[in-house]
């Protein structure tokens, strides 16, 4: 059986590394095989950061184009590119809808991305989209926790429970950071009764 493949992406500085580490540790706590890799090159400098996570039996940590069962993006343009390249038909794209415009858009050589472009491409590829946003967030560096909250509110990763995630967060975050992120994570989890299983 193929592994369940989660493709994560964002811009350097958004906390993709922490998000992927929490997820990998959570899968480990759930007792399943976990394998992942971050690809960041010059990432701290505002470039694209991608990370992959495979749940279940796998060999290479890398996810091939068109193979992701779940795409998590921390930014709109990154979400669109991952949808173009990595989301497989029937998969889910969950993204935090902030915009950190890439260079071409800022210089005026590319037109800005419109929300409708994401929706229509997702429809065309039969990908379910979940757009999340928390406008009142005190610190933008907690956007990855918002994404994490929604992933587990919707039970998007088979066999991994919120308790595994909290355990992982507690292990990987400094106590004060964990306290703040836990409140946010639990708030989002309880915003809706969790759905009855992976879609």
């Amino acid at each position: 059986m193929k592994s369940f493949q989660v493709f994560l992406c964002g811009v350097g500085g958004q906390g993709i590394g922490m998000l992927s580490e929490i997820l990998l540790q959570s899968v480990f706590f759930s007792g399943q095989e976990a394998r992942g890799v971050d690809t960041h090159g010059l990432a701290q400098r505002g470039g694209t950061v991608v990370s992959s996570l495979k749940v279940g039996r796998s060999f290479s940590p890398l996810i091939s184009e068109g193979e992701a069962d779940l795409v998590l993006a921390l930014e709109r343009y990154e979400a669109f590119r991952a949808l173009e390249l990595y989301a497989k038909p029937g998969s889910t794209l969950l993204f935090y809808d902030t915009s950190w415009q890439p260079l071409g858009v800022r210089l005026g050589t590319n037109a800005p991305l419109e929300a409708s472009q994401i929706t229509s491409l997702a429809e065309q590829k039969s990908v379910k989209i979940v757009r999340v946003l928390e406008p009142q967030l005190e610190d933008p560096r907690m956007q990855n926790t918002v994404v994490l909250g929604h992933v587990f509110r919707l039970c998007l990763i088979p066999g991994v429970q919120p308790t595994h995630v909290l355990h992982a967060m507690e292990m990987l975050m400094a106590p004060s950071l964990f306290a703040r992120n836990r409140i946010l994570f639990e708030k989002i989890l309880s915003a809706n009764p969790p759905a009855g299983g992976a879609p």
Partner: protein
């Protein structure tokens, strides 16, 4: 919170999901390595970070980020010939810097043992090439172990250390980017802290000679080759190479490293898969194991990332031994290029065996490329914005390695040629010869100044070259994660003065007008001149502020004075400035660090600091 540094020195065995770079450090500790040295470079800096996360009073490893890779290697070598097990690690191209000393290692009796860890970069994720370091290892007669996963990284390091100690010879552990950064659960063994033995055991009479001059070289070379030949047998001990028998007498596949993982992904569920031999090392060639595999198949495909050293060795072996097996390998020039990802491997396997491996699906073209950018508030951005104003179109700009390399991108386009760390003043000098028409301006970072930049500067003074150096000083090794460099203890300006440079200008890059002026003046001088363009790394500053629990200054805002001239977004191009659907400029408040270095770029003074809520003036 569980700190990496704490579990790395846990004495009992454990299972942890960790990165390859972290698994490596645990192996160093279990192997009782004493001295570890490095110069930071992707994909290896996390090794240093993991070592430095161990509380210093409990850290069994002596560790330093040396001034460059060559010095790092020499420090590790010196420790080894004094009886200490040592290790040095650096990125792929770091081996070029270290090469002069590296190629001598196998001639020496390394009584403590020494492991050289290389972070090669197939796919050039963060390097100026994707060189295959197997070539340099072969030139130096040094064996190369190649793990494919974090678990193997741990196990192979322990083995490398042991082989190195027993045979008193260097052993290379060759990692690649996606081995260093891969994460999986690793089962670690026990660690029993050993009492330290500080006895200096250097003894040239007993273990030497250590002076390889003229005729002395030959016995040393003979010994190196004999050691390598003896080691070949040891390396072939069962359990290290993996042979997967799929009962296929026709087709076999020989591979190594992460290509093996890509193969397994591609072939999973395939009917009639080939038999697979995954080598734990390509150099020296495991002739018995390979011959046995060749003899039991009629066709063998060699699947090898980057260059074709293994393929050539295998073909030569088959020819020598008269083996009746059709051996194929690289075919298209693309086979020499890029990382052997599962997708690339599927393409190659399909080309060779279309009956069992389907073609890959075409990939959509990606929209909105996002090249790396200088951070919001970066002093280099102010520098490039100001320097560009001092340059004429025909002037030649020479880039170097560091965050400031990014100046080559739009909209600055400053920096037109790049070789490697510290090349800029040599290259710039050559460009300035017989050239009175086009001014030459070179760039150099402060960590690179110490690493490999000083000889080029001395050369410029010695031979009276006339270009201008702009020294981009941000007081840290920023690109690789803010490692400290020598500049914190040794003032660069004093070195420049001591070298005898007459024309030194020094400006904080946020003072853009002054910087433009200084560069113009420096370029007018008919001698080698230096502008120190200085501003601390703002990413480091931001992180330190946050760590202390202090708030950043408020983001800037755009006032109603804005005439949509767009200098801030199109010419200064801080990522903070974004474009609305109607073309107007807005501030992305999540990105702005409130530094205000952009304000001077607006001709109508429309970029403002945000007033405090109580209306009492501006925040700072």
């Amino acid at each position: 919170m569980e700190k990496i540094g704490d579990f790395l020195i846990q004495e009992g065995p454990m299972k942890k999901p960790v990165m390859g770079n972290v698994a490596l450090v645990r192996a160093m500790i279990e192997a009782s390595v004493r001295v570890v040295t490095s110069y930071p470079g992707s994909p290896t800096p996390e090794i240093g970070a993991a070592i430095q996360s161990i509380p210093s009073e409990k850290n069994p490893l002596y560790f330093e980020f040396s001034v460059n890779e060559k010095v790092a290697l020499e420090v590790a070598f010196g420790a080894s010939i004094n009886g200490h097990l040592s290790c040095c690690f650096f990125k792929s191209v770091g081996l070029n810097v270290a090469a002069d000393s590296f190629v001598q290692l196998s001639l020496m009796e390394l009584i403590g043992g020494m492991v050289v860890v290389l972070g090669d970069d197939p796919g050039a994720h963060s390097s100026q090439n994707e060189q295959d370091n197997l070539h340099i290892a072969r030139m130096a007669y040094i064996p190369v172990l190649e793990p494919s996963t974090p678990s193997e990284t741990y196990a192979f390091f322990l083995r490398a250390a042991q082989l190195s100690q027993i045979n008193r010879m260097p052993v290379i552990l060759r990692l690649t980017t996606h081995v260093c950064h891969a994460r999986e659960t690793v089962s670690f063994g026990k660690w029993q802290p050993q009492p330290r033995d500080d006895t200096p055991r250097f003894d040239p009479k007993k273990h030497g000679p250590y002076i390889p001059i003229t005729a002395q070289v030959f016995p040393l070379k003979r010994r190196a080759l004999k050691k390598l030949s003896l080691l070949s047998d040891e390396l072939d001990a069962p359990g290290w190479h993996k042979r997967l028998d799929n009962e296929n007498p026709t087709r076999g596949l020989i591979t190594h490293g992460t290509c093996f993982l890509s193969c397994m992904e591609t072939l999973e569920g395939t009917s009639h898969p080939p038999d697979i031999l995954k080598l734990s090392h390509r150099y020296p060639l495991s002739t018995t194991v390979v011959l046995d595999f060749l003899r039991s198949h009629s066709q063998v495909l060699v699947l090898e990332e980057l260059d074709d050293t293994l393929e050539k060795d295998i073909k030569a072996l088959a020819l020598d031994q008269g083996v009746d097996c059709r051996i194929t390998g690289k075919d298209d020039v693309e086979d020499w290029i890029g990382e052997y990802t599962p997708r690339k491997v599927q393409e190659i396997l399909h080309r060779n065996w279309p009956d069992i491996v389907p073609p890959v699906d075409p990939v959509a073209t990606a929209s909105f490329p996002r090249p790396a950018q200088m951070c919001p508030g970066c002093g280099h951005r102010s520098a490039f914005h100001a320097i560009k104003k001092a340059l004429s179109k025909e002037d030649i700009t020479v880039a170097d390695i560091g965050c400031h390399t990014l100046g080559f991108l739009e909209p600055y386009e400053v920096g037109q040629v790049l070789l490697c760390m510290g090349h800029s003043n040599g290259t710039g000098a050559g460009l300035s010869l017989f050239n009175r028409q086009r001014k030459v301006v070179t760039f150099l970072g402060d960590s690179t100044f110490f690493h490999a930049g000083i000889p080029g500067i001395i050369n410029a003074v010695l031979h009276g070259h006339t270009h201008t150096l702009i020294l981009m000083q941000n007081d840290t090794t920023a690109m690789t994660g803010h490692q400290e460099h020598a500049g914190t203890k040794i003032a660069i300006r004093k070195i420049l003065e001591a070298i005898g440079i007459q024309h030194i200008f020094e400006v904080d890059t946020y003072r853009q007008k002054e910087l433009t002026q200084a560069v113009k003046q420096a370029m007018e001088v008919d001698a080698f001149s230096v502008v120190i363009a200085r501003h601390p790394c703002m990413l480091k500053w931001t992180r330190e502020l946050r760590r202390k629990g202090r708030a950043l200054p408020s983001p800037v805002q755009i006032s109603n004075r804005c005439k949509n001239i767009q200098r801030c977004i199109v010419h200064f191009a801080c990522p903070t400035f974004q474009r609305k659907q109607d073309g107007a400029v807005e501030v992305q408040r999540e990105l702005c660090i409130g530094d205000g270095s952009c304000r001077q770029t607006c001709p109508v003074d429309a970029i403002e600091k945000t007033p405090l809520p109580n209306g009492e003036g501006e925040s700072s």
